[in-house]
């Protein structure tokens, strides 16, 4: 067991969590609808069939959700661009292609960046947070993102959810800093998943609870508390994803943490977002915590990580839930979920047969245009245009080679025209797209995301979101671009 006393590390006094961001997909899968589909063969799932879990849209994956969480953390931070990016997940789309590089590109982070993907177990997010907080030097953006696809009719299908959380860690005026941590690594296989597969294979829950959680977790937590120099009963918030129901109180009791400090594992809001979940729960806790509070974060998976954090004066506890924990939109169509997750093959017709092979050489040339949503601003007349071009599009200007990169991803925009196209193939028809006008007068024909036909009207304000544009199943590739998401009125 490895322990660390953050308080003894002089360099760490001003190092801590500088900003947080979290993202849940808009869709919330209704668990009753899932269980109803399986009632004929797995009536026992009824017990879990309450509320909703978050569900990635067809065009979301661990990369796109990471981008959204990362944008939010960076927007919340008054800090220079990070020098390091870590992307933690067990469900990254590419086994060999740095997923973090796609995220960095979409966030328009400087190319002088150290970046890594980390995975391996559900501990990936928590472990990366310990390393980030223990590290020294510049700003590090840590994002954990997960989109797991459990087997239909497994309990995991009801327990898990999709989502991402991001923490900007570095020197400055942190919201919270590390007091101490401990880690244990053990090849305790409560579940596993072969590379490239969906769906976990898991062992009996009673064994997982009695031999795993119950025996492996408490010593690590105690070590972390000891390293932090904090008594268990002084912990104000106990963050531990609910691997099994009611496991939080069991651990709390064993280590002496007050049960009322157990943080809501968000089963009712989104479900367990895997490697992202401790950070997602922490993001919510930090949004609600006041100054001088202690937070215990625990994650189990091939061992255990435990961190003890303390909030600073910058933590300004709020009673209101953070905006990302909104109600979302309930999805009751289980067949749609199966189709979005590739677990059922529907007849999409011949239009779906179009070959979406990507020319990697062209994609590299267009990397900043496509991932960074970078257009060009004419140095002569100020016209912003997308994509950037050699000759300014303004007919009264026409200057050559005057355009500087101009990122459109964060620019306000609105709908100029739209349609709901039922002819084009889309994994979630209709294909909604239209002409988008940015506040700086740039215009782009764009796809709309996360909306219903009724949400579209000329003049509706839009936010840009990074999404999967097309999937190439023949070669196992997917290409990403930005889409325009209508700003929905409250409650929609």
């Amino acid at each position: 067991m490895n322990t660390n006393n953050g308080a003894n590390n002089g360099a760490a006094t001003d190092r801590g969590i500088l900003a947080v961001g979290a993202y849940l997909p808009r869709l919330r899968l209704d668990r009753k609808s899932v269980a109803a589909g399986h009632r004929w063969m797995a009536p026992g799932l009824r017990g879990l069939a309450q509320g909703v879990r978050s569900m990635a849209n067809w065009d979301e994956d661990a990369i796109t959700m990471a981008v959204e969480a990362g944008r939010r953390a960076l927007a919340a931070a008054q800090a220079p661009a990070p020098e390091m990016l870590t992307l933690a997940s067990t469900t990254l789309p590419f086994a060999d292609r740095l997923n973090a590089a796609v995220v960095a590109s979409a966030l328009s982070l400087p190319k002088a960046l150290a970046a890594s993907d980390c995975g391996g177990s559900l501990r990936a997010g928590g472990s990366a947070l310990i390393r980030a907080l223990q590290g020294s030097g510049g700003q590090q953006l840590l994002i954990a993102s997960e989109r797991r696809i459990p087997r239909p009719a497994s309990t995991a299908e009801l327990m898990v959810g999709d989502g991402a959380a991001a923490l900007l860690v570095g020197e400055g005026e942190p919201i919270a800093r590390l007091l101490g941590s401990a880690s244990l690594t053990a090849d305790f296989v409560d579940h596993f998943r072969e590379s490239g597969r969906d769906g976990d294979y898991g062992w009996e829950e009673r064994w997982v609870r009695d031999e795993g959680l119950s025996k492996l977790v408490p010593p690590v937590v105690k070590q972390a508390l000891q390293a932090a120099g904090v008594d268990a009963n002084r912990i104000d918030h106990f963050v531990m994803p609910e691997k099994l129901r009611k496991v939080g109180p069991m651990v709390a009791k064993k280590v002496g943490v007050r049960p009322e400090t157990i943080v809501d594992p968000l089963f009712d809001r989104c479900g367990d977002t895997g490697a992202a979940h401790p950070l997602l729960m922490l993001a919510r806790t930090l949004a609600k915590a006041g100054p001088g509070q202690t937070i215990l974060v625990v994650q189990f998976g091939s061992g255990c990580d435990a961190l003890v954090l303390e909030t600073t004066d910058r933590a300004t506890g709020s009673d209101t839930e953070p905006a990302w924990l909104d109600e979302g939109q309930v999805e009751t169509n289980y067949l749609k979920y199966l189709s979005f997750t590739g677990q059922i093959e529907l007849e999409w017709g011949m239009r779906a047969e179009m070959d979406n092979k990507t020319a990697l050489s062209a994609a590299w040339r267009a990397e900043e245009t496509v991932h960074g949503f970078s257009g060009g601003r004419c140095g002569e007349c100020g016209t912003v245009q997308f994509p950037a071009s050699r000759i300014c599009v303004n007919p009264d200007c026409g200057a050559v080679d005057t355009q500087q990169p101009y990122r459109l991803a964060d620019e306000p925009a609105k709908i100029r025209s739209f349609t709901c196209d039922w002819l084009s193939y889309k994994p979630c028809p209709p294909f909604m797209f239209g002409h988008v006008e940015f506040a700086n007068a740039a215009r782009v024909l764009m796809e709309f995301a996360d909306c219903d036909p009724a949400d579209l009207a000329v003049g509706v304000p839009l936010d840009m979101v990074f999404r999967i544009k097309e999937v190439d199943p023949m070669r196992g590739f997917r290409r990403y671009f930005w889409k325009a998401k209508p700003q929905l009125k409250a409650g929609e």
Partner: protein
Amino acid sequence: MANGIRDRVAIVGMGCSRFGERWSDNAEDLMLEAFSEALRDAGIERNKIEAAWLGVCLEENNVGKTAGPLAQGLRLPYIAVTRVENACATGTEALRGAVYAVASGAYDIALALGVEKLKDTGYGGLPVRTRGVVADLWLPNASAPGAFAQLASAYQAKYGVSYDDLKQAMAHVSVKSHDNAVLNPKAHLRNKITIDDVLKAPTVAEPLGLYDCSGVSDGAACAIVTTPEIARELGKRDIVTVKSLQLAVSNGEEAQFSNWDGASVRTAEVAAAKAYREAGIADPREALDLIEVHDCFSITELVLMENLGLSDPGRAPFDILEGRYDRNGKIPCQVDGGLKCFGHPIGASGLRMVYEVYQQILGRAGERQLAKADIGLTQNLGGHPHQNVCAISIIGRLGA
């Protein structure tokens, strides 16, 4: 200042195949069907053709690349044959090639032929296709109805026209074309429909329903062109000439710059102004006896009435509803059924439009013959409203 093409080239023969689902025919059969009619009309031997232009758009579903299919299909004797492509305006592009070749004096007699075999794709509508390796990275892979439907929402927003008024006017466009096609034996869709049929049809791309969309057809059309002098030598008394041929191509402003309203086809405005000037037409509303426009969708025809200067801005829906463009209206539009009902074999469509104007001028339009037809306009559009090529021709009696 160039003099333009007015009256410098005559059309001496035209042919058009029956359009439709020609399951049993190859593109070569369609080409020969149109060409044979044109040769008979011109009264010349096949070996008098000195140069030819083949218009084919989607060669991958069709005859493949190069001009070879025309040379081989018609067994042309080792003459110059050029293949052209300009999206849905390909047919007019072939005509431009042949007409300019004759006007240049390089050839006495030239052929323009457009053909498309669209019904070998296995599904309805135009085939899906790539936009190129770079554009595919960011451009939505929009269907044609989706791209043209944009006009409707922008038009409503710009002019404050209600959804219902616009839908009614669009429905009138389609009902009118179906009525006209009943009288056209070569048309693909020859059934009458009602306003109610249009309004209740399944949605293709909001607000376009099934009956707001043109047919997708197999077919070919062609023109044999020469000088007015040779036309007389061939014994032609009633000589039909080209008054203007204009082409305007989007340069990216509509899609990328803030000076386009999204409710119009700017290339049509530009090309029309040049075409009227070239033809010496001061007031097109009085001068034109008939028009054949690119009614790929009902909304396209609607906005084109304004962009061609025939309706005032914001007034097209009401002019349409008042019957201004019906066959007995002030400016009959699509008297042959248009793309909507005659059909839309892409490479042939521009030449099909000219074919109808030519037949009307020569008084050969049978049941659908108009009382007065001395001069007519064709407008052929390729691409999408925000990025397109627009070809306009004005065809008329020599001296008109």
